[in-house]
Symmetry: C2
Subunit: 127 residues, 2 copies
């Protein structure tokens, strides 16, 4: 029951983030092990967003480890801009992060704001 | 002669980027192999910025590879925000990138602008 409630809440939050961000393509709540708890993806030609998220989970794990080793403080946010997409990542806990993928011409600032706004709700639902 | 000229130009450009960005701590022009061509660092307590750059070179190599595999287009820019620092990375060529580290409260937008403004100059000096 608790889990189901959390699951519903996760899906709703991710959908809100994607739909309220102009150019939003998908969002995923994922562990550093690359396993998604929940996701919401719009269909995008020629891109498997779930695969994107899994690949980036590995990278984030490395960045997290590096930040800790270097004592530069906890990693909070990572942004990757490619020719076609923007990937915005916000760290939630030691084990989980949320990632939003948007089109290059999407509203980066709005996406970033929504990830920040929803982070406490996602964190609460994870607990 | 050519090389020395390039070296001088690199050092000047990196220094300009760091000094004109409020909160700027250091900048490095580096290959994905983690070997720096040139760098300009201000002394920062408890942080070895050269080590930071080397560690991040590995991560960037991974991100670059991932972006190519996923066909999400070339990686252009990566931003990593930790508790204490912001690391801004701009890809220059298939082999080299420039990274600017600034304090958390530094002027992110100005740093990003300067990296964009100087990228063609760095690229020209690399050629």
């Amino acid at each position: 029951m608790q889990l189901r409630k959390g699951g519903l809440m996760f899906a709703e939050i991710l959908q809100t983030i994607v739909e309220e961000t102009r150019g939003g393509a998908g969002a995923v709540l994922m562990g550093y092990d690359g396993i998604a708890i929940e996701q919401f993806f719009l269909p995008i030609d020629g891109l498997d967003l779930q695969l994107v998220a899994v690949e980036y989970a590995n990278i984030l794990k490395e960045i997290k480890r590096t930040a800790e080793i270097l004592d530069s403080g906890f990693m909070e946010e990572v942004t990757i801009r490619t020719e076609r997409f923007l990937v915005l990542v916000r760290v939630l806990t030691d084990d989980y992060f949320v990632a939003l993928t948007l089109r290059r011409d999407g509203n980066f600032g709005k996406g970033r704001y929504l990830l920040m706004r929803e982070a406490p709700n996602l964190r609460a639902a994870l607990a």
